[in-house]
Structures are given as C-alpha cells and as structure tokens.
Amino acid sequence: MTVGLWRAFCLVLHRELLLSFRRPDQLLQPLVFFLIVTTLFPLGLSVQLSLLREMAPGVLWVAALLSSLLSLDSLFKSDADDGTLEQLALSGQGLTLLIVAKTLAHWLMSGAALVLISPIVGTALAIPVNAFGIMMVSLTLGTLTLSWLGAIGAGLTVGLKRGNVLLSLIVLPLAMPLLIFGAGATDRAISGTSAEGALYLLAALCVLTCTLAPFAATAALRITLE
C-alpha cells in the first residue's frame, strides 16, 4: 500500500518528533551544552558588562553552532544503524521529501528550542532587551541553514565509525559565512544600527540551503547507503 507524498511527509515528521520526545535527555543535552558554553566565556574572560556586551554576539553564535553540531551526529545515525533509513529509501516515496521531514523535525527539536532559550543566554550576556527580536530572528534563520548544511554532512559521514570529528570538519567551513552574518546582525542590533543587510543575507543563505541542500543530502545518503 502506498500513501500520498504529503501523508508520508507527515508520518515521518510525526515519527521523528515522537522519538525525540520519548528520549528527552537527548533533547536537553545540546541545550544544556549551549548554556554551559556561554557560561564559560564570562568566567574565562571578564565579567565587566561593557566588555561582555561587545563579545556577546560572537559567543552566542559560536555556542549555537557548536551545540547544533553536537546534535547533528544523531540525525541519521540510529536510523542507519537499524536499517530504517534503507527502508525509507526503498519505500517508493521520494527520499528527498522524507529527508526534508527528518531535517525539519531535527531543527524543531534542536534549532527552534535553542532560539527559544536564547533570551536567557542573551540576558546573561548583557544583551539589551530591544535587541532580542533581531537576535532571535537571526538565530532562527541561522540554525535552519545549519540544519540543512548539517544534513549534507551527516549524510556523507553516516556510514563511518568515527564520523563525528569529520562531520565538524566538513560542516564548520561551510557554516562560517553564517557566523559572520549572524553575529554581524546581532552586533548591529545591540549597537542600535540597522541590521537589515545582514538579516537579508542570512535569509538568502537560508533560502539557498532550503532549496538545494535536500537534493545534496539525498545524493549524499544514496552514496553512503548503497
């Protein structure tokens, strides 16, 4: 029995969300990691508020990148280990669409959650409240883009025993423009100047990866699965 494309998409999305809710520790660990990393910077450098505010965008974005990277390793891993991924590939549905569902679920559970707790971190790093809006918009665009870049990287390294380090090596260079524009937008929001330019560039990167990365990730998975 075959189901429609939309139905298959919803089924995979539902399954992924259900699986991550059943294992809340895996959901929480990257978020706690994000909090801990941002705590380390003020402890290691200085607790002067003015200095902290200058570093805040960079610290926030680096921590967000690292914490997303931490959860990316598990994107396809367990499904590849128990053969679910092969079943999905053989299911007769477009594999690209199912990967879109999986990556979207992953982003909802890691990226979106990270955006939601970012005001706490922002407060701790002395980011003014009126910059929270732009900070959260830029983080939303950035984490979504990063999930897509990560899907390509995770697809390429899924069959490897020690793919974790390699995954970082592959994804981080591609994510560097993201860090530049994301931290730039937050920085401008804090100093009170217009952050539109950097936000538009972030949105452009987001659209680019949302449209092209699913196909690249599918190709990557087909290479590593066959």
């Binding site: 390509i152 390429l156 390294t157 069959g159 490897l160 020690r162 793919g163 390699l166 090596l169 592959i170 981080l172 260079p173 591609l174 560097m176 423009p177 530049i180 680019l208 690249a216 190709a219 990557a220 290479i223 590593t224 066959e226």
Partner: protein, 244 residues
C-alpha cells in the same frame, strides 16, 4: 560519439597521455616561470607606492588564482565522474586536491608576508583572507573525507559531492574584494577595460600565471599516473606497464 568519449577516459589511455605530456608541461612551465621571475624580480620597475615589496605579487597572485582554479577543476572532475560514472574523473579529483591545498597554503603564506610591510600585520580578519582560509579547510575536508571510507569507491563519490557543494565558495572569494570593503587591494588584471598596470609589470605576471598553470599541469600528470596505477593495480595492463 560516446564510445569515443569513454575510450578517451579509459585508464590506460589517460596513463599514456599523462606520461607523454609531463615533459612538455615541465619544460614550458620552467620557461614561463623563468622568464616571469627574472623579468618580474629584476627588470620590472618598483611600484610608486609599495616600492620593491610589491614583487611578491609574482608568486602570490598566481598561487591564489591556481587555488581557485584547482578547486574548480576538482569539482568539475568530480561532477563528471558522478554523472557519467567515469572513474578517471575521481582520479583527477584525488590527484588535484593536495596540489590545490598547497597552492592555497602558498597564497596564504605569501599574502601574510606581503601584508606585514603593507598593512603592518601578518593577518587581518578580512573577507578575502578569511574566504581563502575557508577554501583551505574545504580542501582538508575533501581530502580527509576521501580517506575516511574503507571502500575507496564510496569515498570518491562522497568527496566529489562535498567538493561540488563547496564550489559555492569560489565566486565568493573571487568577488569578495568587490562586494565588501576589503583591506585587500582590488583586481589588477582580470577586469574589464585596461589592466591598471604598465606592460613591464604586467607581462611577467601573466607569464608567471601561465607558468603556474603549466606547473600545475605537470604535477597533475605525475600524480594522476600514480593515482591511476594505484587504482588499477589489479588489471593486466598495469602489470605490463610496470614490467617494462
């Protein structure tokens, strides 16, 4: 037409062509680089602003250009190999990656040596410098991804896909001096209209560029032969080729 195409890409043919063209590439590269170096370092007039320090451009600019050229070659070879399943494409990509990484490193090192007297610092977090550094990391990623797989065929295809994804970076590096306010000086040669350089400085530079490309060709031929031999080591033609 296609059988002709595939015959052209057959490993023994590529091996023989690479062997035959290596001396040509080497001699021409030596001539072009020899002329470029003597004319550029000895005869070209000193720059009115930078004095003699500008002469490092004769190594820096060709190396930077070749770092992009090799990456594009690697991605195109990988794409050809992925699309038409031509195995030699993977061999070309695998042979190119370390050469391109070396050119990138050379461009970064000469650039920072040039930056010290001109900008007063070895390194600045400037768009062009940063994107060139990203290019180096991309090369490292592609090389290590290829080696990470136990099955070489799979590693080849994964590396080819990654190099195609990373090709987005090439236009960013090329146009970074135009798009952002960069510390790095703008384009001198490759722009519309007249190059902003007198002939006595320009010709050695173009000669160096040509020489670097020919040098790349020579090194690629040598490495490609090694790659092809290693990949085809089970086949009979390799045994015959090695025996003689």
């Amino acid at each position: 037409m296609w059988t002709w195409f595939y015959r052209l890409a057959s490993p023994p043919f590529v091996y023989r062509v690479a062997a035959a063209s290596t001396p040509w590439f080497s001699v021409c590269a030596a001539l072009a680089i020899g002329y470029g170096l003597t004319a550029g370092l000895v005869f070209a007039p000193p720059d009115y602003q930078q004095g003699d320090a500008f002469r490092i451009i004769y190594v820096h600019a060709p190396a930077a250009w070749l770092s992009l050229f090799s990456y594009t070659t690697m991605a195109v070879a990988g794409a050809i190999a992925l699309i038409w399943r031509i195995k030699v494409g993977h061999a070309v990509a695998a042979a190119t990656a370390p050469i391109g990484a070396s050119f990138t490193l050379l461009a970064l090192v000469t650039g920072s040596l040039w930056g010290r007297p001109m900008w007063g610092t070895y390194w600045a977090w400037d768009p062009r410098l940063t994107s060139e550094l990203i290019l180096l990391f991309l090369y490292v990623g592609v090389i290590s991804l290829r080696q990470a797989f136990e099955d070489p065929g799979r590693g080849d295809r994964a590396a080819a896909l990654l190099s195609i994804v990373g090709v987005v970076n090439v236009p960013i590096i090329h146009y970074s001096v135009l798009w952002w306010n960069s510390l790095h000086q703008g384009a001198t040669v490759a722009k519309l209209g007249r190059p902003s350089m007198p002939g006595s400085m320009l010709w050695p530079l173009l000669s160096m560029l040509l020489g670097f490309m020919l040098f790349y060709g020579a090194v690629l031929c040598i490495r490609l032969r090694g790659e092809v031999l290693n990949r085809e080591r089970q086949s009979t033609w390799v045994r015959e080729a090695v025996k003689t």
